[in-house]
Symmetry: C2
């Protein structure tokens, strides 16, 4: 098949999946280091959070039953302090800041600006209901709630959401280790003198950027892949073979760029692997893939856009499968149609569920669970302009879960 | 205005822009280091590229006038080799690989598989037109073409496109230097023992993640900003003031997180700057901004989602203005409606111009200028499925320029 006479439909990449060895090793990682990792076990809340009523506003913690009324201020609880044992008696209050756990005997917060301070007393002239300006126990998350599902790639938003409720470790699959081998006698490899490099290009040389673009795509869309090495080789086939063999022994997958076409330089062909050689895709026809002992070897064109096309169509589905990644991350602003009215005079940011229908993106606002981000349903935050939006309006959404149907 | 009684509409951020000092320093940078930098002068092609006819296919370089015919193969020109001086006589051919400049006297490439080799001769049995399987001189880019406009943030795609045609340097504004000051006695700062951290959260402490989320947003959407320091301080106001003063002296902007609300701990208020304190936004009302000697100081909530909202609405417009960034980068898959039919049996990737209309995204395929990415009009590459698409169909687009109207 030297001349790629029988190109494969791109859908044949599906045949590769059962042949590769999926990552099985699982490790416990600190949540603050988990962004980009594939979650190996459902992350389940081990407790209600907050465990006690928590101030949602700066002010005076009181017993709601005693409002309206006059209270003696007997102390202060700042966020981060633990003074649950400071049991208040009837007629007593403490000053609290947002995030502080309320002392026993109190269940509401009177905003600082709604209370009148009189020496060591404070006067509250209206009724405050139970849990007014308070996040009740379990209001962020209930014990047993699935916060992040197995197979999801943890995002910076998940990190925030989990730490917020005191979940500090999770189980993740180890990353897929990949070696990249950029081949070509013509390659000029930065850093070099830019003027000299420019001159060389005018004499037919090529500044290495294909493997760099491939690496960028992997780092951006496949954070569960670790590029262990990026090596530039000559076109001497023995050199290419030696590097590929070493990478194959050390890593889970190898990506070769350049020398993929049907020419006298055709490393993938000369390596002699059984596999799919050439796909019905434009550009990028020489894209190839073979599997050796469960490890995929990819051959990509030396041209940047052709190689990128090969990464998108062939490399990404295979590596994602190996990584056990069911839901990849996103990291951009998107346009989406809101499925409900969102009223409000102020400018807002609201968490949304993102869904793809008829190829477009639809955003359904989720009931705000206070300040916590994480829940498997949420996929982004929508920016609502002052005055609100109507069902059917298009808004900008900062998505953190992949909007592609994969 | 201790209690944020008079909140500002978010649109008032526009009043801040004329007060900040824009970055004026310009530096020459190597293109391979330019991703994320704001271009300070239009990048103009200094020459046609390719400078000579270039092989677009592996095969035999011949004179089109002599086809069909029989040629004696007198040599080989591999990509990266410069053999323009190898002038061919009538009836001679050379073997070339994709990317090689054709020797004088040749103007077409006969694909290897379309020619019959007979010893040191090759037989071509049909006519090949001038520039068949050849990229003509200037076909990638014409001398004088604007490749990348002043104010655009260079992306990894621009790097590839510029290097491809031998442009190796450009002028960029220096990055905006920012200091982040995360305040709060309650903060637990990783890395720490995760089990201990979890225990502390159940006793009211908070694991620092707000400033980390702010840093992530800046790194992702404002690559033209350099976070020089991220410092965590106590709530002792003198400590906060000392750190803010030092950052203000050393950097172009300072971001304070936490202690922004109207409580006893309210660093932004206590710092005493004249500015906009509190915005009509939910969450994130305590978001504040002041300008001292052309340098903005931002006060953000200690809550992650509130702080994020403040960054999006208030910080980003100001820093982008300071950075001279007219067109920010994008880095994600988007849904877009194609404005023209794209026929084709093969799976394709095509460069597209991206436009926002009625809030949605529209993609107009651009005439492929071979393998070069860069041109100011292009904003992404669209993935076309096998069989092509019709005008009005929705396709996935990998965008590399910001899809927001800013």
């Amino acid at each position: 098949m030297r001349y790629l006479s029988a190109l494969n439909p791109v859908s044949r990449v599906a045949e590769v999946l059962p042949k590769v060895k999926k990552i099985e090793e699982v490790e416990k990682v600190a949540v603050w280091d988990a962004a980009g990792r594939v979650v190996a076990r459902d992350v389940v809340a081990p407790h209600d959070y907050p465990p006690f009523p928590r101030a949602a506003y700066d002010g005076y913690a009181v017993s709601s039953d005693a409002t309206p009324g006059r209270f003696r201020v007997v102390g202060t609880v700042l966020v981060g302090q633990y003074k649950r044992d400071l049991s208040l008696r009837p007629g007593e209050a403490v000053y609290v800041t947002v995030g502080a756990f309320l002392p026993e005997g109190t269940d509401a917060v009177v905003p600082e600006e709604a209370a009148k301070r009189e020496g060591e007393h404070v006067v509250v002239d209206r009724r405050f209901e139970k849990y007014a300006n308070v996040d009740p126990p379990g209001s962020y998350v209930r014990k047993g709630t699935v916060m992040l599902r197995q197979g999801f790639v943890a995002t910076p938003f998940d990190v925030v959401g989990l730490l917020d409720v005191g979940i500090t470790t999770l189980y993740a699959y180890r990353k897929v280790k990949v070696g990249i081998v950029a081949t070509g006698d013509e390659l000029v490899v930065p850093p070099v003198d830019p003027e000299v490099a420019a001159e060389l290009v005018m004499r037919g040389r090529v500044i290495e950027s294909t493997a760099s673009l491939v690496a960028w795509y992997i780092q951006t869309f496949m954070p569960y892949v670790e590029i262990r090495e990026k090596v530039v080789t000559s076109d001497v086939h023995e050199e290419v073979r030696a590097v590929v063999d070493r990478h194959l022994a050390q890593y889970d997958a190898v990506i070769i760029t350049g020398g993929a076409g049907p020419s006298e330089i055709d490393h993938f062909y000369k390596l002699g692997y059984e596999g799919l050689r050439g796909f019905r895709m434009k550009p990028g026809r020489p894209t190839s893939v073979a599997v050796v002992d469960g490890k995929p070897i990819f051959g990509l064109s030396g041209y940047p856009i052709s190689a990128l096309h090969g990464v998108i169509r062939i490399v990404e589905p295979v590596l994602r499968h190996m990584a056990n990644a069911a839901r990849a991350p996103s990291h951009d602003w998107h346009y989406a149609t809101v499925t409900q009215d969102v009223p409000g005079e102020m400018a807002q940011i609201v968490r949304v569920k993102l869904e793809t229908a008829e190829g477009g993106l639809y955003a359904t606002p989720l009931k705000a669970r206070h300040h916590s981000f994480t829940e498997p349903e949420a996929g982004g935050v929508a920016l609502i302009p002052p005055g609100g939006v109507k069902k059917g309006d298009v808004v900008l959404v900062l998505a953190y879960r992949d909007v592609r149907k994969l």
